[in-house]
Symmetry: C2
Subunit: 167 residues, 2 copies
DNA sequence: CGTAATATTGCAACATTATAACCTAAGGTT
DNA sequence: AACCTTAGGTTATAATGTTGCAATATTACG
């Protein structure tokens, strides 16, 4: 595991790393990380809690950008295409990817209390894919697994009082 | 695998089986399988292609039922609670479950050409869950995996001409 | 540089999916 | 029957996402 969002960490490193990876990826692919796109990426990376498209609009307006739905959806599409963010269907929300690149299997755990989402670079996912392909004779192009439950901080543990607040 | 929707099968057996399971499950739990609820379940089971909530409305109207959104959403909520149907987030659509009962891990393969969805009773899913719980220290309550790609009939195979039509 | 081609953004309207709130009807129990 | 609980009818609205076209910015090229 490259990181665990449920443990204390210097989040500015997450953001800096994400931006730097985005820049080099865009450079490599000849894609343009425009101001709106970069700002949307920054906003998404403000926390590990997936953010809805419409939540981004006021923030963009605040920064002097246009803030109609197509603006943010176009930026999101761009970031999704490059694998810089993932979309969590169960939440209709978007979250940063810390190992962007090609189309890769995606598995997230989402805490149903604090809302923070942790991506898992999971070996078992590939095994699952191969098994499905064999059993059904299908070709798998994309895959997304979403697990929900309680993260360590939000479990009503014996020792702790309770929880994280939504970050 | 109890069945494979991508292979020829007597679909009336699927429907009959689903209805009979629904009836006994409702009886056991003291839940009321009313006419609207049963009709919605039948409509969902008309094919293995997940169906959107708003697609059900005209069909209900046709049968003399009320057909405003809350009607169908309430029926869907009922069926979802009992595990008689699943909701596929990537499609915003609903599909029947052929082994209803308690909350169980869900894995679907969805053909991106013909739209038919096959649920997989997958052992690997539980292994995945346990691994995630151990690595992250989390408690998993629900899980949904959605794979997309091409089913055997829809692959541009060497031998075949092409595809299924959307059923 | 100047111009054409391409990519991006602004803008308005609209489509799709889902829910809230409030009331009426049906069914079950005493 | 009187009462309670669950289910359904109805209207309006919220939340999420898209289409189409004009305007502008960026890049490519002569």
């Amino acid at each position: 595991m490259s990181q665990n969002v449920y443990q204390p960490h210097n989040h500015s490193h997450c953001v800096a790393n994400a931006l730097s990876q985005a820049q080099s990826l865009c450079h490599d692919k000849g894609a343009r990380l425009t101001k709106v796109r970069q700002r949307v990426l920054e906003l998404i990376w403000q926390s590990h809690k997936p953010v809805g498209a419409y939540e981004l609009l006021p923030a963009l307006a605040n920064d002097g950008f246009n803030s109609a739905p197509p603006t943010v959806y176009r930026a999101l599409d761009f970031l999704l295409d490059l694998g810089l963010v993932h979309r969590l269907h169960s939440l209709n929300a978007y979250v940063g990817c810390n190992h962007p690149g090609a189309n890769h299997p995606v598995c997230f755990f989402i805490c149903e209390h604090c809302g923070q989402a942790q991506e898992l670079p999971n070996d078992k996912l590939n095994a699952l894919t191969r098994q499905v392909e064999q059993v059904l004779g299908v070709q798998v192009h994309h895959q997304l697994t979403e697990l929900t439950g309680l993260c360590p901080s939000c479990q009503p543990a014996s020792g702790e009082t309770t929880a994280n607040d939504h970050a």
